[in-house]
């Protein structure tokens, strides 16, 4: 029996389901630890050493070091947990969200002020909207 996952054909989107959560448990719990100021300070002082205290995969650690949020999500990260890394770096939620699109901060902010990303062409994999794989990375920079 297979599980019902009707969301796998949504482009540019990873749904944080029970399977992703299982893969990302230690990565996300590492992120939670950054809610304490002294942990943030220790992480910033030596990121690699701090990450090595967690039973994360090497891929998860590399994704964090590279601040590649798409890679973190693929490895089981969830954006609300990953946001703690952004907070540690002094980034806003908009900067974090924009960083996953390939657009510059200005390009992303301008898109949002103009009404956001259209759903047209972005509902199902294989259409031609801006979030489709063949249109990545986005932005003109």
């Amino acid at each position: 029996m297979s599980l019902d996952k009707p969301y796998l054909d949504v482009p540019g989107t990873t749904i944080f389901d029970a399977e992703q959560s299982r893969l990302g448990y230690h990565l996300n719990q590492f992120c939670m630890s950054l809610m304490k100021a002294d942990n943030r300070a220790r992480f910033k002082a030596d990121e690699r050493a701090y990450l090595d205290e967690w039973p994360m995969t090497e891929e998860q650690k590399q994704a964090v070091l590279a601040r590649d949020l798409n890679r973190c999500i693929k490895a089981g990260g969830n954006i609300y947990f990953l946001a703690k890394i952004g907070a540690t770096d002094g980034k806003s939620f908009q900067q974090m969200a924009g960083s996953m699109t390939g657009m510059t901060e200005d390009e992303y902010r301008t898109m949002m002020v103009a009404g956001g990303r259209s759903v047209e062409g972005n509902r199902v994999i294989g259409e031609d909207g801006t979030a489709q794989a063949h249109r990545q990375p986005q932005g003109k920079h």
Partner: protein, 288 residues
């Protein structure tokens, strides 16, 4: 007896809290957002509740991946605003209503909704931003929120989240629970989160004004139809984080017409794009 007289619906974007806390409400970017809540601020003064049941979601703050309750009711005397990584918001602590909360827990569990009971919890922007929007800025030490709040947390972070139908039926159970409380209390229920937004992946920034406005129409006029929207429609049409809208259905299900009463009156409706990554929607419904 206690009764639910009104419901309030609003987005709870963290950047709105930051804009308030940093004194940016009159900036051109933010002014239209706060303008949309001027009516609500006056309305909540004129129709002051004795207690608010505030349906929200925790954003990896009180609940890590160690424990993931689908529905959690706060029965504590008070709740501290959380440090979400940027430092705690400078807002007053949130005073609870343990007597009514415990009563709701007892009644709703007996109606087959298995709530998690929480006696200690910090509350994040999901709860404090709606309070700020509806009550205005408050001094964190000298000030106080004008009414007690029962936090009601819903898991919308780890999928699968509860269905819209289950949320709607839970709202109906909450209404029954409130009406079986002997004390004469005027209760409001707030549904928060949404509207369309996606915070992750190459599709981040998705906004769908057509979906959002159709949802607002449906929520007012045909909540049964809104309760029938499947998860995948929210994800595809309103973005992966747009799924938060199921929480609005809990508040909507607690209105009288969900159990044969009169249709509520919509006294406020507001919609604006954007606040940071998100479409802001806001409704106030009064039981008639």
């Amino acid at each position: 007896m206690a009764r639910i007289t009104a419901s309030v619906f609003t987005s709870h974007v963290p950047a709105i809290g930051a804009a308030l806390d940093l004194g940016k409400t009159q900036e051109a970017y933010w002014q239209p957002v706060f303008q949309g809540y001027e009516f609500g601020k006056q309305w909540v003064k004129d129709n002051k509740p004795d207690v608010v049941i505030l349906v929200f979601n925790d954003h990896a703050t009180a609940f890590s991946l160690d424990m993931i309750p689908t529905f959690a009711i706060g029965t504590a005397a008070d709740y501290t605003p959380a440090d979400e990584g940027w430092g705690p918001r400078p807002v007053p602590k949130v005073v609870g209503h343990p007597a009514l909360a415990a009563h709701i827990a007892q009644s709703v569990i007996q109606q087959d909704f298995d709530l998690t009971i929480v006696n200690k919890m910090d509350v994040d922007h999901g709860l404090t931003v709606p309070l700020s929007l509806m009550c205005g800025a408050q001094d964190p030490v000298q000030g106080a929120w004008p009414f007690p709040v029962i936090p009601f947390a819903v898991n919308v972070v780890q999928y699968p989240v509860p269905s819209g139908r289950r949320c709607y039926n839970l709202g109906r159970a909450i209404r029954k629970a409130v009406e079986s409380f002997d004390e004469d209390l005027n209760v409001h229920i707030w549904g928060t989160g949404g509207m369309s937004h996606q915070l992750q992946g190459p599709r981040a920034g998705l906004i769908n004004k057509e979906f959002d406005n159709a949802f607002l129409d449906m929520l007012v006029n045909d909540p049964e139809a809104a309760a029938s929207i499947p998860h995948i429609d929210y994800v595809r049409e309103a973005g992966s984080e747009g799924i938060e809208l199921v929480m609005w259905l809990i508040a909507r299900g607690a209105m009288a017409d969900a159990d044969g009463g009169a249709k509520p009156k919509a006294v406020q409706r507001f919609y604006h794009v954007p606040a940071s990554n998100t479409a802001v929607g806001h409704l106030i419904l009064e039981n008639t």
